[in-house]
């Protein structure tokens, strides 16, 4: 039972982290129609910048500075890259962000090398917050939950209580109509892109010490992020939240419980083949839950697409 509780918290950390990326991605997609393939690359930049800054002046300043730098970079990308490609249509835009993701990974390798950085949580948080029956829960993860929740609340406040939030909401419910509202649309776009990438940056700063800071981190999380927003329903913020938590827990629980396929098959009354190495079904017999954990989000996506093509909470059919 205590392991279950720890897994609930671990899954929550993972889910909230995913949501920090998904929410920015969803906002950008809903307003501009662009799915930013390089979104997770900004998350990676957040981690690397934070690492670099924290070696100089410590973790806490990095927590503020790194996301700001990432956000400014994001805004510049929108202003000088995306806006130029926009005239060619959505698919070339997507190709542009894909190229950007490739380039950022190469630049990161160029500047920091291929190996993992020694980016660790601040010593102030390097203690065990509590432990239940031998399962300890680090304070840093508690801190992550608070940061993610805080960002979520700020986002909620901006979206529901401010003027800019109103425009964004209008854009969410009626895509392609913001142009008619008479606001400075290019500036709003640049701002949304900047804020969205900055949020990815924050996620990078706080996730770097836990998930590792290495050149492959963008792609590792990035493809899960895309799966999440397809599952949640493209353009739906609440859908993204639900799907993030769902996938967070799915992955955590799959990794924690060593359910073996052979046990299931035997309990079903099947007999284990004697010469397993020769059997064509040998992979089925040796399968374990932690082994298939990483592919569960993709399986979920395929199932959702077949049974509910618009995603969990999406209105538009995908």
């Amino acid at each position: 039972m205590s392991l279950f509780f720890v897994n609930i918290l671990d899954g929550l950390v993972m889910g909230l982290l995913l949501f920090m990326l998904c929410s920015g991605l969803t906002l950008i997609f809903s307003m501009m129609g662009v799915l930013n393939f390089a979104h997770a690359s900004f998350y990676m930049l957040g981690a690397y910048f934070a690492y670099q800054i924290s070696t100089g002046i410590g973790f806490w300043p990095a927590l503020i500075i790194a996301p700001v730098v990432v956000g400014v970079l994001g805004a510049l990308v929108e202003r000088y890259g995306l806006r130029r490609v926009h005239q060619y249509g959505h698919v070339p835009e997507l190709i542009f962000t894909f190229g950007l993701a490739l380039l950022i990974e190469e630049v990161v390798q160029f500047l920091w090398g291929k190996s993992q950085m020694a980016y660790e949580e601040p010593s102030a948080l390097a203690f065990t917050a509590f432990s239940i029956a031998g399962n300890s829960f680090p304070a840093y993860k508690v801190f992550m939950i608070f940061v993610a929740m805080g960002i979520f609340l700020v986002l909620l406040y901006i979206l529901t209580k401010t003027r800019v939030g109103m425009i964004i909401q209008a854009a969410l419910s009626y895509p392609n109509t913001v142009q008619n509202l008479g606001h400075n649309v290019p500036l709003v776009f640049m701002g949304v892109f900047g804020v969205g990438t900055a949020m990815a940056g924050v996620a990078g700063v706080i996730a770097g010490p836990v998930l590792g800071t290495f050149p492959g981190m963008a792609f590792q999380l990035g493809s899960i992020v895309f799966v999440t927003i397809v599952v949640g329903g493209l353009g739906s913020l609440w859908g993204a939240l639900i799907a993030s938590l769902l996938i967070g827990w799915l992955q955590t629980f799959a990794a924690a419980y060593n359910v073996r396929m052979s046990d299931i098959l035997i309990s079903l009354g099947l007999e284990r083949p004697a010469d397993l190495a020769e059997s064509a079904l040998r992979d089925l017999w040796t399968l374990t839950l932690p082994q298939i954990g990483p592919i569960l989000p993709y399986l979920l996506m395929v199932l959702i697409l077949i049974m509910r093509p618009q995603g969990l909470l999406g209105k538009r059919e995908t």
Binding site: L35, E106, L111, V230, L234, T318
Partner: protein
């Protein structure tokens, strides 16, 4: 016709050379048959084999991207699956005495690719654009991840390997020699290219273009946009499978690397580099990319960084790719005014090359300074040996880069002038 605002994806299937006549095909065949006599070395054959396989794959990929407006991020899967299946076929030929002449193997690779494209296309082609792209990525990741779990089919980390020489001999050839394999691959490449070209001229091929440009209109002409996309997806899957089979024949081993996302990314990159709006675009892309990859990786460790920059620059500034750049010059060539452009181009080339080399020098020096182990601070670049940790080389490279950039700005107006002179705007008739 090729203004810069032309979206590369809605541009018609223009052809640089009139592929509908037999001449280009005959010339290509003769050249391909003669190439092994020009480059008889093993390395030459290796590169040419790789190029030919990439051409098939890139053309199949462009059936979706260029012809159908569908951006796939997981297309290596169909090539990889076809290849793995063919590896198993080869092993059955070797161990179980299955009768299958090697030249027929690509048919089965193609059918296997087609089968998977049929399954996955069933739900992924429901929509085009962003949604299709996302689903293709997810499915690609899923199958790539499965390749580690389903060891029986994918062979785990070491992959599946075999031997191509156990099949029945064809005309006394057992395909042990690399040159024999070259001719086999080239035959299949020509056949596939011709088939894919002809496909674009069939009713379904034309309607694929129509759905790409205006899916709503096509629906009101009796065509289900979803079925049209599904069919072209299947056709693309078939030729990807053929490419996979050729890969299996050539290297006799397939691993997880053949179907992961990196591989899918490379095919997108080189197709776009060549130009997606043209039938020959992917061919140009495959040739240039393979050469670039081979040459650059010989000289520098950060060649992927250069490729990334090149790709992004192409997307931003030349969305019609290399073929588009060439096609831009056709009107002036036909008008006999291409000569007007040669002098300004030559003048521009000097500072442009200087800029490229000096900018590359800056990156190489920085990279060396960070990567080099303690004590080995010497580096050799362009035949010069110097200490990469000093400031002098960096300053010199930066100065050259700045100066050549300045010169390029100075020369640019004269190039623009020559361009408008070579391509006079026709008065309204």
């Amino acid at each position: 016709m090729t203004t810069s605002a032309d979206s590369p994806l809605t541009a018609g299937t223009r052809s640089l050379v009139p592929l509908s006549s037999a001449m280009p095909w005959i010339i290509a065949t003769v050249v391909l048959l003669a190439l092994p006599f020009v480059f008889p070395s093993g390395a030459g054959l290796t590169i040419m084999n790789q190029m030919a396989i990439t051409i098939v794959f890139a053309l199949a990929y462009n059936m979706l991207l260029g012809q159908g407006g569908m951006l796939s991020f997981g297309h290596a899967v169909y090539m990889g699956l076809g290849g793995f299946f063919c590896m198993h076929l080869l092993n059955w030929v070797e161990n179980d005495g299955l009768w299958l002449p090697l030249p027929l193997l690509p048919v089965f690779g193609g059918l296997f690719g087609l089968f998977f494209a049929f399954l996955i296309g069933g739900f992924s082609t429901r929509r085009a654009g962003t949604v299709f792209a996302m689903i293709s990525l997810g499915v690609g990741e899923l199958i790539a991840a499965c390749s580690i779990i389903v060891v029986a089919f994918f062979g785990g980390e070491e992959g599946v390997s075999g031997d191509r020489t156990y099949g029945p001999e064809v005309l006394g050839v057992d395909f042990a020699q690399q040159s024999e394999v070259y001719y086999l691959i080239v035959c299949w490449m020509l056949l596939s290219t011709l088939a894919m070209y002809l496909f674009s001229r069939t009713p379904i091929g034309r309607i694929t273009n129509a759905v790409r440009d205006n899916e709503e209109r096509a629906e009101f002409l009796g065509y289900s946009q979803r079925h049209v996309r599904w069919i072209s997806f299947c056709a693309s899957g078939f030729f990807c499978g053929v490419a996979g089979a050729l890969f299996a024949i050539n290297l006799e081993i397939l691993t997880e690397e053949n179907l992961n996302t990196t591989q899918s990314g490379i095919i997108l990159l080189l197709t776009f580099l060549g130009g997606v709006g043209f039938f020959v675009g992917p061919i140009v892309g495959a040739i240039v990319f393979t050469l670039l990859q081979t040459v650059l990786s010989l000289y520098t460790e950060i060649w992927q960084l250069y490729l990334g920059i090149l790709f992004l620059a192409t997307v931003m500034f030349f969305p019609n790719g290399l073929t588009g750049l060439m096609a831009m010059h056709i009107p002036s060539w036909k008008a006999g005014r291409l000569g007007l452009l040669m002098r300004p181009y030559a003048k521009m080339a000097v500072p442009a090359l200087a800029f490229v080399f000096s900018a590359a020098a800056i990156m190489e020096i920085l990279f060396h300074a960070r990567e080099a182990s303690v004590g080995s601070e010497e580096m050799t670049l362009y035949g010069m040996t110097f200490n990469s940790h000093g400031y002098a080389p960096l300053v010199i490279a930066a100065a050259v880069a700045a100066a050549s950039l300045y010169l390029m700005k100075q020369i640019a107006p004269s190039v623009r002038e020559a361009w408008s002179e070579a391509n006079p705007v026709r008065g309204d008739s």
